[in-house]
């Protein structure tokens, strides 16, 4: 089983003549990986998941699971299971019967079904509620039943369609850790669809960011956050300052406010570029402070200060169309800056990324 868990080769899905939900997708998901498909609603991530599950078939291209071509195989003949967004628990069956459903379909012996269902219900801490109906359970419990119902079949790949979307914030955060733990324990490949960047960043081994049916960037959380390659990815994940500029020499850019700054080495672009800078990578200094070596500097004025408890958000006017956002921790040694004060904003060249449109 050294082969990739899921391979999508040139997968395109069109609905009717004018809706292209998924556009020429190339993606390889490794065995045992926690892979997230991240994007706004309508970006094609759920359609991609449904094609892997077999609820939809690609208009073009090929899907392989551990090397086996899926073609037009119906869902019941694929070695994958799905955790649905709304859980889709059978309301007319008990928790036990819900979880046992897949095993019974596969004609597993009664004793084995009993043992395996009990074990997985134990794992999700629902052994006591085996005889309850789904409607008698809380949202979090229903979520765990849905998970148990899929995992009990020991699928080669587990597909999860925004499984935490219906839970409240606290529960969602707890479930994030639980899911990640569970995944590393069982070692099954997870393909996780979400529009929540925090979920994707905290849980995934790798993330694929989608927009308008296209896969824009694939990488681990760190790469996606620190090294976005496109304006969309930079903007969709976290807060970001996007600054227009012009390449003015090797390793330098003249920004639209006229300031010339250094950029990280290794870029071969020329002409117009967009610079992406995270608010927390910018620092604010008093105008009288001496410039620190190795950093880009820019004169600016504080136009707004917002208190978030753990951090301050500053809007600073540095001569661009939009104010720059700067995020500083709420620590006495950093200090605060008042609105209207002239300051200097600085960052290290490698904090900036050149992104494409």
């Amino acid at each position: 089983m050294e082969r990739a868990a899921v391979e999508l080769v040139g997968v395109t899905k069109r609905f009717g003549d004018d809706v292209t939900a998924v556009d020429d997708l190339e993606l390889t998901i490794e065995d045992g990986e926690f892979f997230s498909l991240l994007g706004p609603s309508g970006c094609g991530k759920t359609t991609t998941l449904r094609m892997i599950a077999g609820f939809e078939f690609p208009t073009e291209g090929s899907i392989r699971i551990h090397g086996n071509e899926m073609g037009l195989k119906p869902p019941n003949e694929r070695p994958v299971n799905t955790v649905f967004q709304s859980y889709a628990l059978f309301p007319h069956m008990t928790v036990f019967d819900n979880v046992a459903f897949g095993l019974e379909m596969k004609k597993v012996s009664k004793a084995d079904v009993e043992a395996r269902v009990r074990r997985v219900l134990d794992q999700v801490q629902l052994a006591q509620r085996a005889d309850a109906r789904p409607s008698q359970l809380s949202g979090g419990m229903q979520q765990r039943v849905a998970l148990a119902r899929a995992l009990v079949n020991e699928p080669e790949v587990l597909l999860l369609d925004e499984p935490l979307g219906a839970l409240d914030l606290k529960l969602r955060q707890n479930m994030q850790y639980e899911l990640k733990d569970l995944q590393s324990r069982v070692g099954i490949t997870f393909v996780y669809v979400t529009h929540d960047q925090e979920e994707a960043l905290t849980m995934s081994d790798r993330i694929g960011v989608m927009s308008n049916g296209r896969l824009l960037q694939v990488g681990d959380s760190h790469e996606i956050y620190e090294r976005p390659t496109s304006r969309f990815v930079a903007d969709f994940i976290g807060d970001i300052n996007l600054i227009d500029g012009e390449i003015s020499g090797s390793g330098s850019v003249r920004l639209s406010n006229g300031v010339e700054i250094e950029i990280p080495a290794g870029h071969d672009q020329s002409g117009s570029v967009t610079l992406a800078l995270r608010p927390e990578r910018l620092a604010i200094h008093r105008a009288s402070d001496p410039p620190s070596p190795g950093r880009n500097h820019m004169k600016a004025r504080i136009t707004r200060r917002t208190y978030f408890g753990d951090v301050y958000f500053y809007d600073v006017d540095a001569g661009f169309d939009q104010p720059l956002e700067v995020k500083e921790e709420n620590r006495p040694e950093i200090g605060t800056h008042d609105v209207g004060v002239e300051v200097t904003v600085s960052w290290t060249p490698d904090a900036a990324n050149l992104v494409t449109d």
Binding site: A53, P75, F84, A88, F90, P91, G102, R149, A150, N153
Partner: protein, 292 residues
């Protein structure tokens, strides 16, 4: 009242006002039901214990159970069993014919769905009696069925005035009462449940059997009761299509009131039919509820 702090008394008063409003809104319907349903029903019940004079007049004295005793007469039992079986078959045929159709409608796009639903309801726009008479033309010895048979070199067929003719008429008449509740039940089905079953290795047929069918049970129960009850007491259809030899409960009750002028026995028959309907409906509801 504005600005006064809320007290338990005030809240109770508001609740009382609310229930008074509910009663007022319901009162026209309640009055109608009491006047035209409850009172006549009580009258029928009272009459069923009355006796009959030699000239056929109902005498409201000498209260007795003779009419109920007569229910066990083999002739009455035979008519009853015939009606019961015919109503069962009608219900079964309606269910088998309607389910695929209701499923088809419920799974179409909104546009086509509305057109199909209107088509189901169009027959209601013309008179039931007229439509039943139309079947007389179709099923008679020179009707369409007979003509087709003859064109194919067969014999002339007369379905009219046989039990199958009544069955055809009943199924035709009550089909929409089965289609509509089935449609309503299937239409609000959560299709992700069917997908979940497919995802858990059920083939299409098994997913239908294990998920779609049990979850559409409320529609099956409602439709079956809506068809079974009027079929059991049907009068018009058997009278027009059944002929003299297929006497059913509806005919028989009418004949007791009109021809035989035995109102106490007619009343007892009516109550017996109602009782059976009630029991059947209760059993059916309970069976339906268990699957959910």
């Amino acid at each position: 009242m504005t600005g006064a702090p809320v007290t338990p008394e005030l809240e109770k008063g508001a609740e009382r006002a609310e229930s008074r409003r509910g009663f007022l809104i319901g009162s026209p319907a309640s009055a109608y039901l009491v006047l035209f349903f409850a009172i006549p029903l009580v009258l029928v019940f009272v009459y069923s214990f009355a006796s009959r004079s030699s000239t056929g007049l109902t005498v409201l004295e000498d209260w007795n159970l003779d009419s109920y005793r007569r229910l066990l007469d083999p002739l009455v039992v035979e008519i009853f069993v015939r009606s019961f079986v015919l109503a069962l078959i009608t219900t079964a045929v309606c269910l088998l014919a309607s389910y695929p159709f209701a499923y088809y409608i419920a799974t179409r796009g909104p546009g086509l769905r509305n057109v199909l639903l209107i088509l189901v309801m169009i027959p209601f726009w013309s008179n039931f009696l007229v439509r039943t008479y139309a079947w007389r033309v179709l099923l008679g010895s020179d009707g369409v069925i007979s003509q087709i048979s003859q064109a194919l070199g067969g014999e002339s067929i007369r379905v009219l005035f046989t039990p199958p003719a009544v069955l055809i008429g009943l199924v035709y008449g009550y089909l929409p009462f089965m289609v509509l509740p089935l449609y309503a039940a299937i239409e609000r089905l959560d299709w992700s449940l069917v997908e979940a079953a497919r995802d858990l290795y059920a083939d299409g047929w098994t997913a239908f059997r294990k998920v779609t069918l049990p979850l559409s049970m409320p529609g099956i129960v409602a439709g079956s009761i809506l068809v079974f009850i009027p079929s059991l007491g049907a009068y018009v259809t058997p009278a027009i299509l059944g002929g003299a030899r297929t006497v059913l409960m509806g005919d028989y009750i009418v004949s007791q009131f009109l021809a035989a002028r035995n109102w106490p026995f007619g009343s007892a028959l009516s109550f017996a039919v109602m009782f059976v309907m009630l029991i059947a409906a209760m059993l059916y509801f309970r069976a339906g509820a268990r699957t959910l």
